[in-house]
């Protein structure tokens, strides 16, 4: 079978128009990329309830900064970079403003037997124990941003290591190392839970 243009699966979509091309329909692009940007925001924000606000603010900034978009990367990468910056800054400014507050969404309650339980329901599939998931959440939150963000970004649908590197503007090797060490630290922390699960 001969290769054809339609067979190529490496062609990127969403590249910025060059001189002479049609201008970007930002409204359309914002709608198209919003679900992806939402996932990026969920991966980067410390407080997941801020994700929607982060995406919104990033899109407003992107629209204002559109004339500065040089088209040297796919539009979705450029938008994701803005989401990451807004997300990190959002957390820092929020922490500065309300650092003595406690967010109800972050609270855990204790069951009658003293075991910690989150307000969220357990996973519907029931594959992972709530205690383990809480451990995972705590372990991930304990990671510094440079390890936490690439690790979670790897879970974003369709996001590859080269693309994560472009979004975070760091070399691919650095992304791989940070993901590896993030997971290594997490593995060490979760070792008792993992051992208990494997025994079952």
């Amino acid at each position: 079978m001969n290769p054809s243009a339609t067979d190529s699966v490496l062609n990127k979509s969403g590249w910025a128009p060059r001189a002479g091309d049609a201008p970007i329909d930002f409204d359309l692009a914002a709608r198209e990329h919003r679900p992806f940007l939402m996932q990026v925001a969920v991966a980067t924000t410390r407080n997941v309830d801020d994700a929607e606000d982060v995406v919104q603010e990033a899109l407003v900034r992107a629209y204002k900064g559109l004339p500065n978009f040089r088209g040297d990367c796919p539009l979705r990468v450029w938008l994701a970079r803005i989401v990451v910056r807004v997300s990190i800054n959002h957390h820092r400014s929020f922490v500065r403003r309300v650092k003595r507050w406690v967010l109800f969404g972050d609270l855990e309650r204790e069951d009658s037997d003293g075991r910690a339980a989150a307000f969220d329901a357990a996973d519907p599939a029931g594959k992972v124990e709530l205690e383990t998931l809480l451990d995972v959440g705590r372990g991930i939150e304990a990671l510094p941003d440079e390890f936490r963000v690439p690790l979670l970004m790897l879970a974003v649908d369709g996001l590859t290591i080269p693309e994560i590197a472009r979004i975070l503007e760091i070399p691919e090797g650095t992304v791989k190392s940070r993901i590896f060490y993030g997971r290594k630290r997490l593995k060490k922390r979760l070792m008792p839970s993992l051992a208990a699960r494997s025994e079952r």
Binding site: V9, L10, E52, I179
Partner: protein, 265 residues
Amino acid sequence: MTKSCQWVESRLESYVSESLSPAERGELDRHAADCAACRSELAAFAEVDALVAEHFRRRLSRASRSVRPVVRPLRPVGVAAASLAAVWIGYAALAPDAVDPDTADKDTAVPDVERAKPDPDPEPAIALSEAPLQPPPAPVARFRVQDSAGYFHSLEDFSGSVLVLGVVDGNAATAAAFEASYARYAGESGLRFLAVPADGVDLDAPRFPTMANRASTLLETDPGEFTIISPDGAVHARGTLDNGDLAAAIDASLRLWRDRVPVTR
């Protein structure tokens, strides 16, 4: 810890990030097939990744639930109407579909994320939309696999090499054919092999590189078939695994690309 285990440990990061040469990768796979400790180490990484993915899924679910409802303004009355309209503008931006395209100002270049006109016939009181805002379903990926350490890979990760992709079904002859080709051609530089078990198929200690399909169409490769992908990501050949087509297709691919594929040592 044996010397081989130390060797594996020193290459673990490269292995899980797909940076090992095919020869070293094959060597590590062979060691892991015989070494329970190293296999357990790799499995622990895979389990951590699965837990991270589950944690992410829950966060995403919670973020989707916490999307603000659409709030519509009271019927405009003077200043109060203006301030309510401002609130509405903020919330309407969260729900682009809430803006009626027929009433939207088409002459201005400002997108919906910044612009929202008050509804010409607003509800008489604040009303919450009943339907939650949900992102559209993600399209099914053509190629998305996960390695034993839990890393996800797209076809981009194999660019620059000729990739021999086989979807191994429950038929033993299929796996045997792929294993024979891997044993024969694994030393060729610029040639990579990847077997993906079909749904429900559990390979017992395979002697070739495998990864799990993660809800992708695998370039429309059916169980029991192979696809050869060129270094630039185009589908070059397809065929059935157990009838001898694979070796002929690999030979043809090597003749075509041997001089163009960079040697990676």
